[in-house]
Amino acid sequence: MDKDTAKDIKILAIESSCDETAAAVVRNGREVLSNIIYSQIALHTEYGGVVPEIASRKHIEKINKVIDSALKEAGTTLQDIDAIAVTYGPGLVGALLVGVSAAKAMAFATNKPLVGVHHIEGHISANYIENLNLEPPFMCLVVSGGHTHLVNVEDYGKYTILGKTRDDAAGEAFDKVARAIGLGYPGGPKIDRVAKEGNPDAIAFPRAKVENGEYDFSFSGLKSAVLNYLNQCEMKGEEIVVPDVAASFQKAVVDVLVDHSMDAVKRYGAKKFAIAGGVASNSSLRKAFEERCAKEKIEFYHPSPMYCTDNAAMIGVAGYYEFLAGTRHGYDLNAIPQLKLGER
């Protein structure tokens, strides 16, 4: 497409639902002109997880700088933006409120449309950035520190949740197990790395089935099984082989995620399958899905790691399709920590 046609729609997107302060400019829903992320991971490491109040305080310090950098890097100005998209849930309420309040004030000051975006819709939409041929319908597994959702993407902005976690999110289980075996926070990337040196079949951890929820997940039992195993080793004076524990735990998570997803793909006759969210950058999970999808002749999609973790580009993409669908929010838009996918 010609670079400066009148039809171009540029979205400024803002994301502050957890511990990343992020802003991006996205053109026509598929082209990322800038994607700025201020990560707070280092701040939260010593607490072993995200501290909501510390996250919120950092967001308010950084928000303007991040937005300004996104506009500058995109070579554009606020005046040249067509709409402002912002994550308004789910997430940490105090963190969300910073992005929502700033986005509303900027939309008000410039008289631009305001589009509230669901965080999970953003993660799913991250797949559109590098896969220009990908369009709904497809099946998507969203796995992150806060979410584990199996979603049937029927159309842009139209979702059916087939399954979700009953307790811990997959990423949360990674964090807790990583802490227990002394790897520290954030657990996902650390377990992924250490597991490469371990034997995934060394320890038989359980694969949880959830009653009355075919596609639902449960990871707290698995987490307890790992903790019990560690305790028993200690009591018996047996050596704990950290890479084996990491690899066996990871395989138990991956097996359940892959099996549930592929069951749903078959049942609903999906031709395309995508993963999204922070845990989607896990190399073992990615490899398992690549192999299974190839075997079942399903097209497999996944974002690059930079679009798997929380970012604003994905919110800009989702915001673009919401904008086209006519979604507009008022100045009373509030942060909704438990926002459900598909709610307006």
Partner: protein, 247 residues
């Protein structure tokens, strides 16, 4: 000079547009809705009511704290969004100073107090001193988070040594009214309803002198002043302190 003033630090949400000596509009709400739902719609309503051209606004005044952490951030993020988009500066005003300013010109000691939970109040002590043709707020006790009992000891001392009456105001008053009645020796009163909560007009008024003297910050640099660390940081610091004492 035209200023938009915003306060959402406590139970009230307040927005005002002030131009030099004229308060053009003020909107105060003390209701159970969250500030996120009320603050910007209030400013939008004012904008329509007074045909406000945002390009004519010179600065955003904000109650910078202390106050409810979340409330402060809703106000600050709103101020930062406005000031950033309009490319104008932010004027930071202490919430307690803005509250005290409601009682402009009084001879009494002014004691604003906001409920800070955990048996504490955010508080300060101010007096008005005359300078040329107007009164200036002067700090007698700086902004602090403290137990109301400790505050009242201090207030009794100051009242006796300065021979002044006391006026209490702020959303901490109804919470600690019994304590105040029990423990205050000095002559005191409580400010009435039309001046006992934060009003954005007072912040706008205080901001004008600050803009004139260049005491402003950019939208990039503004952040609330909480007067308190987060709970996680407090616990960590206590942990470090306790560990340290074992050596």
């Amino acid at each position: 000079m035209k200023i938009i003033a915003i306060d959402s630090s406590g139970l009230t949400a307040s927005v005002a547009v002030i131009e030099d000596d004229n308060l053009i509009a003020e909107y105060n709400v003390q209701y159970k809705k969250t500030h996120s739902q009320t603050l910007l719609p209030m400013l939008d309503e004012i904008k329509g009511m007074i045909d406000l051209d945002l390009a004519t606004v010179d600065a955003i005044a904000i109650a910078k704290g202390p106050g409810s952490f979340t409330g402060l951030r809703i106000g600050s993020a709103t101020a930062k969004g406005l000031a950033g988009a309009l490319d104008i500066p932010i004027v930071e005003i202490s919430t307690l100073e803005g509250l005290a300013c409601n009682l402009y010109g009084t001879d009494a000691l002014v004691v604003p107090m906001m409920d800070a939970r955990r048996s504490q109040v955010y508080t300060a002590v101010y007096e008005f001193i005359q300078q040329d043709d107007k009164y200036i707020l002067s700090s007698v006790m700086e902004d602090s988070a403290m137990a109301v009992e400790d505050l009242l000891v201090k207030v009794n001392e100051l009242g006796a040594s300065l021979k002044k009456k006391i006026i209490f105001l702020g959303d901490g008053v109804p919470v600690y009214e019994d304590k105040i009645r029990e423990l205050t020796d000095a002559v005191y009163t409580f400010a009435p309803a039309h001046m006992n909560r934060q009003r954005a007009a007072a912040f706008g008024y205080l901001a004008i002198d600050k803009v004139n003297s260049g005491d402003v910050v950019s939208a990039f640099d503004h952040a609330p002043e909480y007067l308190r660390l987060s709970q996680a940081e407090r616990e960590r610091n206590e942990g470090i302190k306790n560990k340290g004492s074992n050596y």
